[in-house]
């Protein structure tokens, strides 16, 4: 074994006769009754990848319709269902559960805990997701079709929909409950189950970012639940929360939604920051620059995220003081985010870098995510935002931060930790093909959308003026390339790595640090039954 700060090495590989009933169960029982954090992590990751592919197919259907002006394939009602469901599936079905999957796998391994704090609740929070996904996907097949009011389900459009909207609302309720339980589990695990000697300020960055994310989730998921419950009662029980005729206000929905929605975007990016903060030091062979400032920057982002929500609503008409407040508050978020980027680059500076696939995705993340950060800064300026609100510029912006941000960081995390999960090294050439194909086709897809938005093309339209044709065609071609790259990832990276490949060492990366590398690869079913000592 490689040099390590821990002295317990791999005592568990000798079996553990003292607790027979803890042996790995087999067959479907292993998954349905799973209480092991690694199995549940695997379930989360497969679930989210499935949703990612489904959401991706919807995206390709959108791009197919938008290849040319005019309606060729889908009618506008169905088109609106596609955009809505693409958003809901990607946000709630793909990105959020995927990060919970990473958390389940890695947090106990990184803090030297034997499992998550609440193993059975962990099982429940995963198994809530498939019914939610079935409700969501099943809504396509009910009269009136799936929700078609955009993933933001603004009232009163959402009160007009058929029963698909109710299914969507229930799905969100269930996913919200799952997220809250997951967060409670993560917070409890991190706060109570760290190995002796691991103080909070010695904790790996991924755990730090997830700890903060979990607090954000607990704070805002109930807010979303409130908004959609009010929508539900407006739809069926004669309340008028969002109906002016009964004393309500449609804009109030937006305030409540974005009070959830803006922290939500940080929920989807903070764990990504955590992953990148492990990958960059590993491949630069140099400790993370400014660990403490990373922690403070993450906390500042989380706190600021609660006071910027109305920048999504500049065009609803609000007092000039409110516009100015939300503009300045939003601009401020650029400061801690900038600190993070500078810290990563300072970590790379004068390192001894190699560029295996995890590092490629991490560097690609920093480069492309920062472009999304800059367009975010531009959008924060109220007058410019008013000009760009609800155009493709916004679509480009949030795909730069969510695809090139969250998704690329997760790819980076996959390549980084897959040896620990599967016990096999992925094929480096396949990984590099996946990276270059993804980053090139990503930019072909989304870069032209900046131009479309600047020129004024509204988002969520099934048909567009012919002046926008060329950039839409480029975007569509790029989107198919990006989709194929992910199919390649499944068939040429994930499956081969699970099935076989070079045996991975306990610590396959010579620059890696952390407790997860002190256990063998693949990580045995039970790890850290005796807590390691951190010096």
């Amino acid at each position: 074994m490689s040099s390590t700060t821990v002295d317990h090495a791999h005592d568990h590989s000798h079996g553990h006769g003292h607790d027979d009933h803890h042996g790995a169960p087999h067959g479907w029982r292993r998954w349905l009754f799973a209480t092991n954090h690694k199995d549940i992590g695997t379930l989360y990751l497969w679930f989210s990848f499935t949703m990612f592919l489904m959401g991706g197919v919807l995206a390709l259907m959108i791009r197919t319709e938008l290849f040319q002006p005019g309606l060729q394939f889908f009618n506008p009602e169905f088109f609106n269902q596609l955009t809505t469901m693409h958003g809901l599936m990607m946000v709630f079905g793909a990105i959020m559960p995927a990060f919970v999957g990473f958390a389940n796998w890695m947090i106990p391994l990184q803090i030297g805990a034997s499992d998550m704090a609440f193993a059975r609740m962990n099982n429940f929070s995963f198994w809530l997701l498939p019914p939610a996904a079935i409700l969501l996907a099943g809504s396509f097949f009910v009269p009136g079709g799936a929700p078609a009011a955009g993933w933001t389900i603004y009232a009163p459009l959402s009160t007009q929909m058929g029963m698909g909207m109710d299914m969507g609302i229930f799905a969100l309720h269930i996913m919200g409950a799952s997220s809250i339980m997951g967060s409670i589990n993560i917070i409890t695990t991190i706060l109570n189950m760290r190995a002796p000697g691991m103080t909070l300020m010695k904790m790996p960055m991924f755990c730090w970012t997830w700890l903060i994310t979990a607090y954000l989730l607990i704070a805002v998921m109930p807010v979303l639940a409130g908004a959609i419950t009010m929508t539900l009662t407006d739809r069926h029980f004669g309340t008028t929360f969002f109906n002016a005729a009964g004393g309500g206000d449609p804009v109030m929905f937006q305030h409540i939604f974005w009070f959830f929605g803006h922290p939500e975007v940080y929920i989807m990016i903070l764990p990504a920051f955590g992953i990148v903060s492990h990958v960059v030091p590993t491949f630069a062979r140099k400790p993370l620059f400014g660990y403490a400032s990373m922690v403070y920057a993450t906390s500042s982002i989380a706190i600021l995220s609660f006071i910027v929500w109305a920048h999504h609503m500049f065009t609803t008409g609000m007092p000039v003081t409110a516009q100015l407040f939300f503009m300045y508050a939003t601009m401020l978020i650029a400061v801690p985010t900038g600190v993070k980027v500078f810290n990563w680059i300072a970590t790379m500076w004068r390192g001894s870098m190699t560029f295996e696939t995890p590092m490629l995705f991490a560097v690609g993340f920093i480069f492309v995510f920062t472009m999304g950060g800059f367009t975010g800064l531009i959008l924060a300026v109220t007058p410019i935002d008013i000009q760009m609100q609800d155009t493709y510029y916004v679509v480009a912006h949030f795909h730069y931060v969510l695809v090139a941000g969250s998704l690329f960081a997760m790819f980076s995390g996959f390549y980084y930790w897959a040896p620990k999960w599967t016990g096999h090294m992925y094929n480096e050439t396949s990984g590099k093909i996946h990276f270059w194909a993804s980053i090139i086709t990503f930019n072909i897809t989304f870069f032209p959308m900046h131009f479309l938005g600047l020129a004024g093309m509204p988002r969520r339209i099934a048909d567009y003026p012919a002046q926008f044709t060329d950039f839409n065609q480029i975007a569509t071609i790029g989107a198919f390339g990006f989709g194929l790259s992910q199919v390649y990832f499944l068939f040429f990276v994930i499956i081969p790595t699970i099935r076989g490949g070079k045996q991975a060492e306990a610590k396959p990366w010579d620059g890696a640090e952390g407790l997860e590398w002190t256990v063998p690869s693949p990580a045995p079913f039970h790890t850290f039954e005796e807590p390691p000592e951190v010096k």
């Binding site: 290849f67 955009g150 009163p156 500076w349 001894s352 560097v363 800059f374 020129a455 003026p465 002046q467």
Partner: protein
């Protein structure tokens, strides 16, 4: 191998499709986006001009920072790599540097926001307008009503003029595809025009990019915004808040004309309206009502209930064979006037009593419908509205 070949032929197919599609030459149009425009459309108001400059300033600052930061990163990537024999340093902290790169960005972002503040304040100042127009967003058209000035009282609906067969690919597309309306809003040049916006059903959003104006129209509430166009011309925009299935098909067109032309237009429009105003006490024959009603139905009702009256199953109910349409007329008058379930809009005040009576009469005598009470006179609608 097999997969690789398939991939090749697929890519070939896609590029051929692209080539075929781009052979159709699209012109730039007046007041709309240029072909392959890569920045904002040319501004015609001071506000839009300020936004244009703000964006240019932001772009330049961001580009400079981007190049500087990633210049450092890529220098590091090329110089500090293991394959180049670089040995890793061990530093991992520097309080000075950290404070510096917190304070400097802080100053930069505040400096970015300061010039925008002036524009924010100016955009919100709707006082001292020369002309006020009420704008009502509806699924899926815009209603305009001139509240004061030469055109006081003028009101009309404005909806997409692009024929359906162009959208459905059965006819060649016109130059102004999706950016043309039947009734344009006409305003005088160099006059401060205040818009007060509301909506009938769901949230819509009114924008003309060249004016630097975008304001949501919110049902049950009134919001206002303003513009002062400095160039005569026609300017185009589209509804930018998702408002249901025809969201892509409710454009906005504003014609900015000289003062004299505006007066002439207002005069003509007022006379036209006076001539068209129907006396709600007139008694119509059933054929007159049916004929008028078909037009009213096709422009206002067919988007949901369809021209064949069959509706869209699950979303929009069929009128053909509907018990309400074939039953007592009072019920149907009530539904049309006041709406139902938040889905069927209330038409009271949107359409005239004559138009409502005509549309109802038309539905009661069309398709397979043979209602016993087969005619509704405008006077009955007036009575029911009270």
């Amino acid at each position: 191998m097999k997969l690789a070949k398939r991939l090749q032929s697929l890519m070939l197919g896609v590029s051929l499709m692209a080539a075929a599609a781009s052979t159709w030459a699209v012109p730039d149009i007046d007041g709309g986006p240029a072909v392959n425009e890569i920045t904002f459309q040319k501004p015609v108001t001071q506000i839009a001009d300020q936004i244009y400059s703000l964006h240019n300033m932001m772009m330049i600052i961001c580009l400079v920072i981007f190049v500087a930061v990633f210049g450092v990163m890529f220098y590091s990537i090329f110089k500090h790599r293991k394959s180049a024999g670089h040995k890793a340093a061990t530093f991992h902290e520097s309080t000075t540097v950290e404070i510096l790169w917190t304070i400097v960005p802080f100053i930069i972002v505040i400096a970015m926001a300061l010039p925008a503040t002036r524009t924010v304040v100016a955009m919100k100042d709707t006082s001292d307008a020369d002309l006020t127009i009420k704008v009502t967003g509806m699924q899926w058209k815009w209603g305009y009503q001139y509240l004061d000035g030469d055109a006081k009282g003028v009101n009309f609906l404005s909806q997409l003029a692009t024929p359906r067969d162009q959208i459905n690919e059965t006819a060649a597309k016109g130059d102004n595809y999706l950016l043309e309306v039947d009734n344009e809003v006409v305003v005088p040049v160099n006059k401060k025009v205040r818009l007060v916006l509301t909506a009938n059903d769901v949230i819509h959003s009114w924008t003309i990019q060249r004016f630097g104006v975008k304001q949501d129209a919110i049902p049950g509430f009134v919001r206002d915004t303003w513009f002062k166009a400095e160039q005569i011309g026609t300017y185009r925009g589209q509804c930018v808040e998702l408002c249901g299935k025809e969201h892509a098909f409710m454009p906005i067109v504003v014609k900015v004309v000289s003062d004299a032309d505006f007066k002439a237009w207002a005069d003509g429009k007022q006379k036209e309206l006076a001539a068209q105003a129907d006396d709600p006490n007139k008694t119509w024959t059933i054929d007159e009502l049916k004929q008028r009603g078909e037009k009213v139905f096709n422009t206002n009702c067919a988007a949901c209930h369809q021209t064949n009256g069959k509706g869209v199953p699950g979303s929009f109910p069929a009128l053909d064979g509907s018990p309400v349409v074939n039953g007592p007329k009072a019920d149907q008058i009530n539904v049309v006037l006041n709406g139902r379930n938040g889905k069927m809009p209330a038409w009271k005040g949107v359409l005239s009593p004559t138009e409502i009576a005509a549309a109802i009469t038309y539905t009661r005598n069309s398709w397979s419908n043979k209602a016993a009470e087969n005619i509704v006179q405008p006077a009955e609608v007036v009575a029911a509205s009270k």
